[in-house]
Amino acid sequence: MSKELIRLADCVMAFDDEVVLDKINLSIRDKEFLTLLGPSGCGKTTTLRIIGGFQTPTSGDVLFDGVRINAVPPHKRTINTVFQKYALFPHLNVYENIAFGLRIPKTDGKGNRVKLPEEEIDQRVMEMLEIVNLKGFEKRRTTQLSGGQQQRVAIARALVNRPKVLLLDEPLGALDLKLRKDMQNELKRIQKAMEITFVYVTHDQEEALAMSDTVVVMDAGRIQQIGSPEDIYNEPQNAFVADFIGESNIIDGIMRADGVVEIFNRRFQCLDGGFDRDEAVDVVIRPEDVDIVPEDQGQLKGTVTSVTFKGMQYDIIVDFYGFKWLIQTTDLSPVGSRIGIKIDPDGIHVMKKSEYSGMFGDYSSYSEEYEEISDASLDPEEEDSGDEE
């Protein structure tokens, strides 16, 4: 594993009396693709702005390569940012937007102000245009570009400065679904090619899982879980993570012994252990981990109350003793039919009770919740309310 590049230690951010970040501890390794994932207002953009230097934490330290950089202004950090709405300079054309950072005189080791020669600027800009597939667009005005093209100009403008870290604040939020998929691959490719660290902010869990080396799930100003996409999905640490990442049924359970959890008064085999005897726990069961069997063979028995065709599978809602589950299956079970289910031990994840317990799980409120979470157009968090337009 590569070495640590950035560390946030006990970072607190408070505006007036409102705590936006509550003791964040985070380590970002060199050349990794790290994603800050969470719903609006979770503090992910604030975390990004602290790394970029646009905000100074109320307390705590920001370390870069082991050096404290709390007070270093943005223009002195070897970090560049791709902003949410691109923030391209409207009065400059594509070429000048990308060349912007290169034209600024830098201070060299001896304290002299040095400017890059025009040939080098030109060479580097052209190189970047090639990387982001925008050759021939140099003289265009940025207002004449499509959203995806503007996005790539913004990336080129940041990368041309050869930063050690690139911060991306919901960079794909304004693009349509297909373009977003393309750009995800594009970004991943660029990150590999340039060999730099990406810190990526999004509220889209699919995007986070698809692109990241490390995912940091945040909510309410706190980090809920840090891990690889697989860890996050398969071993959520609490009900919030389980619910936010993918679809899940979260059920109250009691740990009767290591490897034995009781749900609806029935005992199930599981792989988890290390809990107190008879400890109340949250149990996560992913919709795709449930097998549908004839009613008499089922560990649990219920009634199908709703069926939605999703292309690859059906989403069905099943009522078990008044508690509604979401199950994904390729076999159609018509509404009103009685079914049984079986769950393999590796399909059952046991979590400690947390403040999020009881907030998610019952799909009787399925429709609202489902839509809210999958709504990509949800306004991302903003410190200043978005009344400006």
Partner: protein, 667 residues
């Protein structure tokens, strides 16, 4: 049906625009009038425009106006822009509260802004005076000036103050439209805040800054009320000068200068609108349009390799500007100066030039609007005039209140030329403070085309024979004085019953609808244009009216009338006493009195000038001066015997006058 409607609405729009623009069109048309009336067209001429550029009072005020507007605009634009940026870095609540505060001065009545600024400056000067005197007394190294007065600097400060809100108001929307991340992005790419401001924010908000500056400039050029209260005695803006000139009448010269002012504001507005339209068009067309030759040149100039050329040009321009301002300040600062305050159109301006050439002293010539206005200006302490020219009764009041400095008559040899009749008058019985400037009489002016008989008595004002065609003079002293004379009382009576009786006479006629209106300066247009039959005004002004309407006649009624003297005096502690004496002596000379008499048609108190004027006139115009006119201008001794001068009345009587006069409006 529909078509008819459209016709109707077009007609309505046409009428609306006519209503809006007819007065301005009229003014523009009459600025080309060959005659000097604003009511009678006498053919096309550019005469008044030529006159305009020779009028030093106007040219000086144009210079002051431009300088103060440009400087105030520059300062306010910079300050307002940064203030707007500061506002936008605040939270929404505080920003909105502050923007509210910013809007208040724009909606506030100008008069309140003006008066409060004036009070503020005067209060500050007093505080500063005490501090400077104390400071000078405890150390001898630095000598601070202890007497500050209103002048160019306070005028500039006031203009900056009222311009800033307009700049903020124009810059704020541009900031609101700007993506807030732009500044972050620029800093992220390596800019310091200042560099990001120049390279990113400025191009974004430039349209707002330009339109803010244009509006501020227009406001500055336009402003009258605030300037009036903050300019003090030493400077006068164009609007103030025009106002001073209208005290007498709206001359075609004023029409000409107003036309030019209107056109320049129009050009500014068109320019700022064109800029926006072009910017929008460019946005729409985008790169599809090829840049014009001018734009190509501009783009080339904007290339980095021309940076030093650009910087050099800007530097040279800035230096030139600073140098010019400094040179001007030096030139005006080091020359001896005398501050004179008189009435509008009350001097032959060639005399000022002549005095300046002879003595090297700069004359700062300002005008006040009435004796009462002058009095309050002096009382407020905001003015630092050396010489003022009030009327007799006001001089009495100024002496009584110890506001005048005794004159050193050894420095005014020309005082010997003043006729004995005009020395030691009741307002200055020992003649310690004054040198008379002009004198004249009040009388009835009537239009012989509208009035058959010969008028001989003040009764013509009250008997109702010309009901609806009589103009009452809008000045309590004269209006009630006329009634007192008609009733056979003294114009200086302090008997309340007599004054009330006189007032009742006027009020009764007013109730019966005898008076068409109460006027001062409108009397010129009304009488010249034949819109009223009878009015009362001053002899000298009658002679001016006669030039435009030969049917007018003037009479001093048999009951007698008022005769008045306007005299030059020096204010207490005047800063330029030597120069003031030189000016008074110069104006008292026979030559100056002749020139003034010819220019303003008021009689001179200089014995020689008065006697020689008919000959002077003949020499100048090649024709004999009508002796009747001369008699009207300089009333002969037997007429003067029937006339009475106004004395300063006791406070109690003055307040009775005020009360009655206010009552007349509501009676």
């Amino acid at each position: 049906m529909k078509k008819q409607n459209r016709l109707g609405s077009r007609l309505l729009i046409g009428l609306m625009f006519l209503f809006l623009y007819a007065p301005i069109l009229l003014l523009i048309v009459f600025s080309f009038n060959a005659g000097d009336s604003s009511a009678v067209w006498k053919g096309f001429s550019l005469h008044w425009y030529a006159r305009l550029f020779q009028n030093r009072l106007i040219m000086e005020s144009v210079y002051t106006t431009l300088l103060v507007s440009l400087l105030a605009t520059a300062i306010a634009t910079v300050a307002g822009t940064f203030a707007a940026i500061g506002l936008y870095s605040l939270g929404r609540k505080r920003r909105e509260a502050l923007l509210m505060v910013n809007n208040i001065p724009m909606m506030n009545a100008d008069i309140v802004t003006g008066v409060s600024l004036c009070l503020f400056f005067v209060a500050f000067f007093q505080g500063w005076g005490s501090f400077a005197r104390w400071f000078n007394s405890v150390q001898g190294v630095v000598e601070l000036p202890d007497r500050l007065v209103l002048g160019f600097s306070t005028l500039l400060l006031a203009h900056v103050a009222f311009n800033i809100p307009y700049v903020i108001l124009n810059v704020a929307p541009k900031l609101r439209q700007m993506d807030r991340n732009l500044m972050d992005a620029a800093q992220d790419l390596g800019c310091t805040w200042m560099r990001a401001f120049w390279q990113v924010m400025l191009p974004e908000i430039k349209p707002g800054i330009v339109s803010g500056a244009l509006i501020a400039f227009t406001m500055s050029i336009d402003d009258f009320i605030i300037s009036y209260f903050t300019a003090g005695s030493a400077s006068s803006t164009l609007a103030m000068t025009i106002y001073g000139m209208t005290k007498k009448r709206v001359t075609p010269e004023i029409n000409a200068v107003s036309t030019l002012l209107f056109l320049s504001v129009l050009v500014l507005l068109v320019l700022s609108n064109l800029k926006e339209v072009r910017a929008e068009a460019r946005e729409r067309l985008g790169a599809a349009r090829k840049p014009s030759a001018l734009e190509r040149a501009r783009l080339k100039f904007a290339e980095p390799r021309f940076k030093w050329v650009r910087r050099g040009t800007a530097g040279v321009l800035a230096c030139a500007f600073i140098f010019t301002v400094a040179a001007l300040a030096h030139a005006t600062g080091s020359r001896p100066v005398v501050n004179v305050c008189s009435w509008g159109e009350y001097i032959d301006e060639d005399l000022i030039t002549q005095f300046e050439e002879e003595t090297g002293i700069r004359v700062n010539y300002q005008t006040a609007e009435s004796n009462e206005a002058l009095y309050s200006l002096l009382k407020s302490g905001g003015a630092d005039y050396d010489v003022v020219v009030p009327s007799d009764y006001m001089i009495g009041r100024l002496i009584a209140e110890d506001m005048l400095e005794p004159l050193d008559y050894s420095q005014i040899p020309n005082f010997d030329l003043i006729d004995q009749r005009f020395r030691n008058l009741s307002y200055d019985p020992d003649n310690l403070y004054t040198v008379p400037y002009t004198w004249g009489t009040l009388g009835i002016i009537y239009n012989t085309a509208m009035v058959e008989e010969e008028i001989t008595s003040w009764s013509a004002l009250y008997d109702g024979k010309y009901a609806g065609n009589v103009l009452l003079i809008n000045n309590s002293r004269d209006a009630i004085g006329e009634a007192l004379l008609y009733l056979g009382y003294s114009v200086n009576t302090t008997d309340e019953a007599e004054i009330r009786e006189a007032y009742e006479l006027v009020a009764d006629a007013n109730r019966r609808g005898v008076f068409q209106g109460r006027v001062m300066d409108e009397v010129f247009q009304k009488m010249e244009g034949g819109n009223a039959a009878i009015a009362t005004y001053y002899a000298g002004d009658y002679l001016s009216m006669l030039e435009n309407n030969e049917d007018l006649a003037f009479v001093i009624p048999e009951e007698g009338s008022n005769w008045f003297v306007d005299a030059m005096c020096m204010l207490k502690d005047a800063p330029h006493q030597r120069e003031a004496h030189m000016w008074i002596n110069f104006i008292a000379s026979t030559q100056a009195n002749l020139a003034n008499m010819d220019y303003i048609w008021y009689a001179s108190p200089n014995r020689e000038a008065l006697e020689r004027y008919p000959a002077y006139y003949e020499e100048l115009y090649g024709e004999e001066l009508d002796p009747e006119l001369y008699e009207i201008m300089a009333a002969p001794a037997e007429t003067l015997e029937r006339c009475e001068a106004y004395l300063n009345l006791p406070a109690k009587t003055l307040s009775l006058y005020n009360t009655l006069w206010t009552q007349l409006g509501t009676d």
